[in-house]
Amino acid sequence: MTSLKKLLLGEQGLVVIFAIAFAIVAATVPNFLTERNMLGLLQSVVTIGIVACTMMFCLASRDFDLSVGSTVAFSGMIAVMASNATGSIVLGLIAALLCGGAVGLVNGVVIARFRINALITTLATMQIVRGLALIASDGRAVGINDPGFYQLALSKFLGIPTPIWVMAIFFVIFGFLLNRTVFGKNTLAIGGNPEASRLAGVNVSRMRIWIFALQGLVCAVAGVLLASRITSGQPNAATGLELSVISACVLGGVSLAGGRAAMTGVIVGVLIMGIAENVMNLLNIQAFYQYVVRGLILLLAVLLDNLRSAAAGRRG
């Protein structure tokens, strides 16, 4: 009894709660726990999962990035257009990474150097970048000429599609970055107490610029994989992604007030979002009711986590 309580309320409580919920879903929802469905589910969260890695850093350092959806669409677009134009997939990828990184860099510089509110800045770049994507493509999707491009998403390794591997590798890398490196600790420090970090000699504005630039790069990776999966560059892709990603992070215990983040939490947050969607479709829940259910699941998930941390004596 007490050990169960300990397990639930401990550091890894969220993971435990998630495992229990997963087991219940697996036992009750038909077709859920099949290899096919699991792979499908994982693929469906690739974009959110990858982008959540850097969003975690962004939120942990008390920043905010609304431009991720646009950047994913824009860099996917660029990847397709550049590789169509040059005939080389590699050049396409490089172009996409450059563009994504550039968007992130601009965000970072404007926010950290000109000290402009992150919400407004990224709301602005969100629109500007979406506009650029639309202008570049004249508002229409751009098809991929070289079928080799599709292989990025279609290829498999050990029976598991490449995008899932990429996501998994990102989870590992960014988990390591957060917990084991100076970069990660400085990120948490900036979020936890910017003033103290500055007084301790952390170069706060350079850190913030780096985080945003990284975010841009990571969005480009997600954009390329997305374009490959949907076999075209779509200027309207990934709208609303920002809110899903931020929700996944917050669900996973990342604090919007900065300073608190954990990779396992974010992974769980991402999976909760994916599973909710997946199960609702498996159960054939009507579209309008899906809205309501999605909202309720979000509420329930944070409520549970809150009860847990309240019981554990932390501040709300």
Partner: protein, 508 residues
Amino acid sequence: MQDFLEFKAISKGYPGVQALADVSFSVKKGAVHGLMGENGAGKSTLIRVLSGDQSADNGEISIDGSTQHYRSVRDAFDAGVIVIHQELQLVPELTVAENLWLGRFPGKAGVIDRSRLTNVVREKLSEIGIEIEPGAKVASLSIGERQMVEIAKAVMADARVIALDEPTSSLSSRESEILFSLIERLRSQGKVILYVSHRLDEIFRLCDSLTVLRDGKLAAHHADITAVTREQIISEMVGREISNIWGYRPREFGEVRLEVKDIAGRKLRTPIRFSVRQGEILGFFGLIGAGRSEMTRLVYGADTRSQGTVSVDGVEVVADSPPHAIRGGIVLCPEDRKFDGIVQGRSIEENMAISSRRHFSPFGILQPKKEAELAEQFIAKLRVRTPSRKQDIVNLSGGNQQKVILGRWLSEQGVKVLIIDEPTRGIDVGAKSEIYEILYELAAQGMAIVVVSSELPEVMGITDRIVVMCQGRVAANIERDDFDERRILAAALPDVANASELPNQQVQ
């Protein structure tokens, strides 16, 4: 010996305030140099300039003969300067070790060497006698422990110049002793130490030389502290003589005003009961962590009570939240002004009127004139140093912020019970005696007052009765006639054998 650290004609102004005006003095190698002055005199500003955090408008600093041109905290650090600020500068979400290494983590290629991270810290901490687990999150430490972590920063960095801004204001005497011996050791290593404090006996005990600031200007410089007296320093700071700082006057007590029966809460498990009469000032004394602050929070309804009742004038106050307590006539001045006291971003006036304005705001509509009058009145009465009542409270010096919070409750109406947790922490000598005067005045009007303090002389000097707490329990209840330092201390100590745990004892 050589002048090692030199301030040359330093000036620094903020809108409406000349925080430092043409301040010059120098400190020798291997010396502990005291820095004193009233609240708002410019001590912290000078230290911030030294730390590279703020740049002076004019003047320069030289260390070991070379003029410094640093533009950031980092540069100052590289030049061998480390500063322990008046406000804690820790990241609560990180561990003790991580906080101590912040800004210069050990490791290769950006990967932190975790064993070095904790081992070095463990070594250093035990070397200086601080018993804190390096892996503990700072958020889980008490204020005193956090202050020790802050101080440990000075040891972690191999600095030539160390500045400490009011480091003992939230330390227990045992912790203070650790700090003092640490300072001795640093002095013997030939470092320069700049030491800011409002406690004269600390200054006399530690310092070799002393500078007094007043209104941002150099008021006095004493190259040899043994050549000055307390009285002289006080008048240099305050500009007048203060003969008896306590100024205690006996009073008549009336009926029981505050009656606390068997209250307990999550952090205070043993039920506590006590009562205070009209006109009585009751002191609570104990070591840090004895549970005094927790007790005050329970009475005030700031934390949830698991049991017990609180009544005022025989009427039970259902104080399950501060508004209820206030309506029942109980108010609390919290001990942690930064987190529980000041409302950042708002003016002095608003910080003062936040509670009392409901009495003179018909239908919730503000009366700006009344608020202004009130603010002006208490700014004058408490000698708050500020260019205007509209000043954002975060721009005030630490001591002046504390005065504004006091003003908040002094301006409240219908108060029957005033609870003050550490009333004079960080407050200068001059203002201290004014605050005591105000307390006597209120008591004389029939208010019941509870004063929680870690300074034994203060509790003994101003209260009518002392409740001593120890490890969450009431250990003794002593009337003024029976006040006796030894007896009080004996009651405060968890274990008589552990006699090193003495609280601050400075008698002035």
